[in-house]
Amino acid sequence: MENVTTAEHVSQAAHDGHAHDEHELSFLRAYVFSVDHKVIGIQYAITAMFFLLFGFSLMMVMRWQLAYPGAPIPFIGNFLGQANAPGGIMLPEFYNQLGAMHGTIMVFMGVVPLAVGGFGNYVLPLQIGAPDMAFPRLNMASYWAFFLGGVVMFASFFVPGGAANSGWTSYAPLSVIALEGQTWWLVGMIFLITSSLLGSINFIVTTFQLRAPGLSFTRLPFFVWAQLVTSFLLLLAFPPLEVAGILQLMDRVAETSFFMPSGLVTTEGPLDISGGGSPLLWQHLFWFLAHPEVYVLILPAMGIVAEILANNTRKPLWGYRVLVASVIFLGFMSFIVWAHHMFLTGMGTTMSAFFQTTTMIISVPSVVILSAFFITLYGGSIRYNVPMLFALAFLPMFGIGGLTGLPLGLSAPDLHLHDTYYVIGHFHYVVAPGTIFALFAGLYYWYPKATGRVMNEALGKIHFWGSLISINVVFMPMFITGLVGVNRRLYDGGMQYAHAQEVMEWNAVMSYGAWALGFFQIFFIINFFWSIRNGKKVDDNPWRATTLEWQAPSPPPHGNFTAPPEAHRGPYEYSVPGAPNDYSMQGQATRA
């Protein structure tokens, strides 16, 4: 067995694997309960995009209340229900529900399922030359676990007292004594976590085991590396949050006191509990996941940007090995920085110093990655198509988000900035004009692979420029109001605070930005659906790209490739001197 070549091995292994049913699948098996990674990827992507739109709509409604506190919400106010918005005026409790659900939906039901579930599922097996994911049925199970979690979260808006309102962080003890919606939130989270765990196992096994012959780890596209590290983060960081969710469920349902200290008193008098628990325990278990989670949000985005930058500068990605080393190091470090979210909890100075140090260290690989991306641009003959525009915008936007994070990682400035709009501005620069823009870039970029057609260029450019300008109008002023000291999660935007008065006019500006942003998404939605039938038809490799997915037909058939692919060179051989073309595909034996 020792010296069989890999290619022989594949055919031999394929021999004892399942023979695929070649007969026609029923509609249900082909499109609903499909085990094909491409269908599942599209299911993930569509569901996640729906949730992103929904989560964003919640924020567009909230922005009315922030811009004009106490004024009835025009038109939409009539549909929010008397219990939530009597006379169209949003109640604080309802504002809290929308805020908590906005965060939860965006992070756990929008970005992660799109970046990992959608792009990971669709693109990763193609890029490594695999016929499917390693465990197709498990893959289907993780989509449906995600879907159920989404349904539970969605349904929680309609239970008595409404959805969870303790923030996406669900800090105890308030979350424990909150209304029923919180229980639904916890159950929903357990489904979502299970989905991610199953998915991450599948991604890791697929990447290790299903790489095409010749595709060694040093030839993997950066996108695959990013997804691999992301999967490890999900695999090892999510279980503690699952535990935390179960413990909070116990606190709420079985009246335990895991997160409940002794001597708690509410407006209804002392609580009848055993006490002896620790609210900080929740924060540890929560942030043990939630810090790695921010890298789950950003790494796949970096992977997408890397592919598009190399393709559209027609240059190899600068410093491939450094990039890979950085992304691994980043993943590793992300497990030991979490308590930088807890500087204000009275944590000891020793550990505070430890977490400040690790946080400063982790910023280094991020800067390395961003620098490598910028250097890639240098001397390239850049093609400014829509995916490239979004990828280019990612760079400075993520840069702003990253650099504004540094002061938050040091406990002295964090004393002032913690829990202000500065924090909201910081991480939204990372996830909104950062990650979301990268995801748009990926959607425009791989759309022709999934449909055989490209999306409309003109509509795409309107979408891009409109979004870029308005999203900065939303988030840039947050740094100003935050530095002045305006707290986040205030349902009146800070109106009642004297120190906030001088910056209150920014609230309306930001709201107009958010609504404009919503308006420009219409161009995307129309473009997305219109192009499925009417987009310009293109060949299998419209961007003249190098990686293996472009060797498969568009859309790829069941089993993906017409002939078993093999990798002959690195992933980014653009403009190789002496080669006949300015790109040499990974899967072609001779440079064509």
């Binding site: 308590a339 944590m347 550990m351």
Partner: protein, 117 residues
């Protein structure tokens, strides 16, 4: 773990020895718990025995001693490291307060009044 019948028989031999060791260690840990020692020492003894038993299970029943895959080794080493982080770091964030008596502010005030009288 693909081996001949010969090898498998050898393995079965080992399984039986491991089973014996696990049984003995279980008895030892129960007996040790009846000895009256200080709590920290009792914890250390119990954890050492449990770790010994656990290593036997992982090494032989789960065949980790025969496993030569580097991929697996890296994945498990990472898991063990992050597991240690999860076990140790949260509790260390409270370490600065060990042995420090911090009375509540108003309790202090009452105390001060007492002293004044």
């Amino acid at each position: 773990m693909s081996g001949s019948a010969e090898e498998t028989k050898k393995h079965i031999d080992i399984y039986m020895k491991v089973a014996g060791a696990l049984a003995v260690l279980t008895v030892v840990t129960v007996l040790a718990s009846y000895i009256d020692v200080a709590v920290p020492l009792a914890i250390i003894i119990a954890l050492i025995i449990a770790t010994a038993k656990g290593s036997l299970v992982v090494s032989y029943f789960m065949h980790l001693v025969d496993e030569k895959s580097r991929t697996l080794a890296i994945a498990l080493a990472l898991t063990v490291f992050f597991w240690l982080v999860l076990m140790l770091v949260p509790i260390m964030t409270t370490s600065d307060t060990y042995g420090v008596h911090k009375p509540l502010p108003n309790a202090n005030a009452a105390h001060a009044e007492d002293e004044a009288h």
